[in-house]
Symmetry: D2
Subunit: 257 residues, 4 copies
C-alpha cells in the first residue's frame, strides 16, 4: 500500500509449489510493481535460477532454508524468508555471513519473519508499546478447536514482548486478587495472563486488553484467511532491497516510529 | 419501559438505609407510576409499616429476609427480594407458605431474584436458548482485579444453564483438540469453558461466544454501575402484583417467549 | 444439533446444481440421520423425482419456486424453501393451498425462510425480545466494501422487528440530543438508527447495541462463510416434518420460548 | 507507570477548585514522587504562588490560560496545560516566548494537550501509524445520548490523522460500492467514514477498524470515567521537566517509536 518504487522488482519464489509459495506467486503476479521471474521447486538448482533476480522469497522447509539464504546472499539476491525453524544460532550464522560480505561491499538484505500478517504484527507491536502505560494487561487468543497447542505461538510472543516492555519500564505486575480458579485453557507467560478460546467457526484472532482506572484500550486482530499474509510479503519484498544486513521481524521494516 | 399500569403502585423499601436500598428509594421516587410510601430500616416494626403498601422491596440481610417475606405475605403485600442467602430450603418454606395462603384466597406474589441487571439476566437467558444450536460455546467474564473469586457467580450460573440446555438437547461437548495449557484463570463448569479476565478499569462484564462452521454469535453484557440494577427492580415491582405465588429469577417475569 | 429422529429422513434437493444447492447436497450427505435420495436440476421432471422423498429443499429461482412448492405439497412432500422472491401474495396462495389439502387430511409442512444463518436469525430474534427493556437501541452492520446497498436487508429486518417490539410495549424512542451530523452510511429504520460499516476483509456481520443507565447488552453475529447456512437448513429439514401448514422464518421452528 | 525520578517534583495546580483541578490535586497528592505544594484558584496572585514550584498544571478557563502559561514561563516553572481554547496563534505566541527565553538559557518546558486519556491518545496514534497498511479504514465512536455534536471531536481528530497518514503514503481511498444510504449519524472526515452511536449507559468510546483481504485490525478505546485522565496528567508532569520548549499533544511525550 506504500509508495511504489519507480522500477519493477524481479522476484523469485522458492518453494513455489507449496501452499504458501503458490499464494506468493499469485500475489507477486498481480502486483504491478513486481515481476515474477522464477519459480523454484525442491530439486531445482537454486543458484542457476537466480539470473536477473532482485529478491527471492523463501517458503520452503526448515532443513534447507539456511542453505538457501546463504546461496542467495552469495548471489547478491535479497531474501525474504517465511520458512519456520530458524534459531538464534542459524540467524547468527547468516548475520555473520552478511557482515563478512558487507566488508566486501555487498548491500544484500535478508528479512526473516515468523509472521507476515500485518494485523498480527501491528497488534503485537502496538501492545508492547502501550504496555507500560497501563496498570493491567491480559491477552485473549481465539482459534478454531482443532488447534493442538494453547496458548498460540503468536499470543506467547505477544505476551513475552509485553512482559519485556513492562519490566524495562519498571511497571508492577498486573494486580490480581484472585484466590481461586486456575483451571482454564491458557497460561501465565512471563507474568502476563493469556486466555485461549477454542470455537468452531473461528480461524486465528488475538485481543490484547489494557486497563487503567476508568479506561480500557483493546487491540484486536482477526486473521480470517491465509490470503491475509500476502500484503505483508509484498511489503517485505519492496522494503528488503533498501535494508542491507539481517532484519528479524516484519515490524522492523514498517517504520512505525 | 413496558406499558404503565393505570394505577399508582405504593411501594415500601426494606433496608432503606443500605446502599442498594437507598438506590431503590431514589428510583421508585423518580418513577411516575410508583409511590414510595414507606422506608423501613433495621429495628423498625415491619408489620406496622405496611399500611396501604402494595409491594415491598427487600434489600436487607440474609439473617432477616425470610422472616420479612413471611410478614409481607401475611399482610397481603407483594414482595420483590434482592437479598442474598436464599437456599432451596428457605425458598421451599416460602413457597409452601404462599400455597397455604392461596388456599384461603390470597393472591400475593413473591419474586426472589439473585440478579436484577436486565442485560445480565437477558444475556444468560439468550445464551441458554441459543446453546443447543452451536457446535462450540465458551464463556469469557471480565471484572476488576480486586475480585477474589474466579469465575464469577454470574458466569458459573450462565455456564450451568448452557450446559443443561445442551445436555437436554443431546448436543455433543464443544470440540477441543488442545493437548497443552490448563493454567489460566477460569474453570470448566459442567463441560463449558469459562475464562476469567481481571483488568483495572472494568466493573462486571460477560461474553458468551457460540460458534458453528462459518459463523459466530456473541452475546455480551456490560455492567458499568450499580444504577444498572434499577430498571430490573422497577420492572419486578410492576410485574409481581399480577403473579401470585413464588417466582425465582427476573427472567421469569420478562415474558421472553 | 438437536436430538436425532429415530428414523432417517429422505431428502431431495431442488436446484442441486446451484451454488447453494451443491452445498446443501454435501451437508445432507454428511448428516447421519439424513439420506440424499434425489438431486433435481432445472429441466428435470420434479413430480417424477419424488418417489420415497420425505422432505425437499428448494434453492432454485424466484420464477419457479412457487410452482415447485405446489407440486411438493400435492405429492405429500414437506418443503424447506430458501429461494428468494416470495411475496405476501405468493405465500398466501401456498397457505391457502395447504389449508385446502389439510381439510383432506394432509399434514404436509412448508417452511419458507429468507435466512438460514442460525446466528443471524437468533441475533435478530433476541434483539427484538430485548428491545423493550432498554432505553436506547442502535444497530451496526458491517460488510465487505463491494456491497451495493446500505443498510443490509438483514439489518433493516432487525431494526423493523426492534421498532415493532418497542412500539407494542409503548417504549419511547431512543434518546438523541444530536444536533449535527447526518451524513454517514446507514439509515433511520422506523426510528432505529442503523450504521453501515464497509471494510475489506469482512463478510457479513451485525451488532445490536442496547443500553440503559449503567449497563449495555450487545448481540453480535458474524457470518464468515456460506457454509454457515447449512446447520440451519439441516435443522429446518428435521423440524418441517412435524410442523404441518406454512411456517415463515427459521426462528419459528427454533422453539425459543 | 514509567520509572520514577530520583527526586520529588513539586507541583502547583491552577484551577484547583474546578472539577478537573480537584481530581488533579487528589492524584498528585496520592503519587509518592509528586508533592502538591500549591493550589491556585481564580483571583489568587499566580506569580506569588510559585515559590519552589517545579511544574504547574493548568486546568483553568480559555480566557486566562495563555496569560497563566506566560507567567509560569517567566517564573521558570514548567507547565502542563489541559485547558481548552488554544489556537494556532496562541500556541505560536507561547512558542516564540519560549524560544526568546531559551536564548537566555531557560530550559522551561510547556506541554499543551487536548486529551490526557492514555487509551484515547494511544488509539489515535496507533490508528494513524497503521492506516497506510490497510485497504479500508472506518471509525466508529460511541457516546451517551446527551452529547450534542456528532461525530465527537476525538473521532474527527482521529479521522484527520488517519487521512493525513494515508495521503502521505499514497494510499487509495477505502473502497466503497455503496449506492444508497447516507442518512446515519456521523460524517465523512477527509474521506474517512466516521459513524456515531449514541446509547444510554455509554460514556466515551472509539473504535478504529482497519481491513485487508482476509484480516482485520481493531483498535478500541473506552473512557468510563474522568479518573482515566489522571495517569496521563501525572505522566505529563514527570515528562515536561526534561522537555524544554513547546510540546503539543500527549502522544509526543510517550516515546512510542
Amino acid at each position: 500500500m506504500t509508495g511504489q518504487p519507480s522500477q519493477t522488482i524481479r522476484v523469485a519464489v522458492l518453494g513455489a509449489d507449496g501452499r504458501m509459495g503458490r499464494a506468493v506467486c499469485a500475489a507477486v503476479d498481480a502486483a504491478p510493481d513486481l515481476d515474477l521471474v522464477a519459480q523454484v521447486r525442491a530439486g531445482d538448482d537454486l543458484a542457476a535460477s537466480l539470473d536477473g533476480v532482485d529478491v527471492a522469497v523463501d517458503f520452503t522447509v526448515p532443513s534447507v532454508t539456511e542453505a538457501n539464504v546463504r546461496t542467495l546472499v552469495d548471489a547478491g539476491v535479497h531474501a525474504v524468508v517465511g520458512t519456520t525453524g530458524w534459531t538464534d544460532e542459524s540467524r547468527g550464522r547468516i548475520s555473520d555471513h552478511l557482515a563478512a560480505r558487507a566488508d566486501h561491499g555487498s548491500e544484500v538484505g535478508v528479512l526473516i519473519a515468523p509472521n507476515f500478517g500485518l494485523s498480527a504484527v501491528l497488534a503485537m507491536t502496538f501492545a508492547a508499546k502501550a504496555a507500560r502505560f497501563f496498570e493491567s494487561v491480559e491477552v485473549v487468543e481465539l482459534h478454531h478447536p482443532d488447534k493442538i497447542d494453547a496458548p498460540s505461538g503468536t499470543a506467547r510472543h505477544t505476551a513475552t514482548a509485553i512482559a519485556a516492555a513492562r519490566r524495562e519500564a519498571g511497571v508492577a505486575p498486573s494486580p490480581d486478587a484472585t484466590e481461586t480458579g486456575l483451571d482454564a485453557r491458557g497460561a501465565d507467560v512471563d507474568g502476563v495472563r493469556v486466555h485461549a478460546v477454542r470455537l468452531r467457526g473461528l480461524v486465528a484472532h488475538e485481543e490484547i486488553l489494557l486497563g487503567n482506572e476508568g479506561e480500557q484500550l483493546v487491540i484486536r486482530q482477526d486473521s480470517f484467511d491465509r490470503k491475509s499474509f500476502m500484503p505483508g510479503v509484498l511489503l517485505a519484498i519492496r522494503e528488503v532491497v533498501s535494508r542491507p544486513g539481517l532484519t528479524v521481524g516484519l515490524e522492523n521494516v514498517l517504520d512505525l516510529s
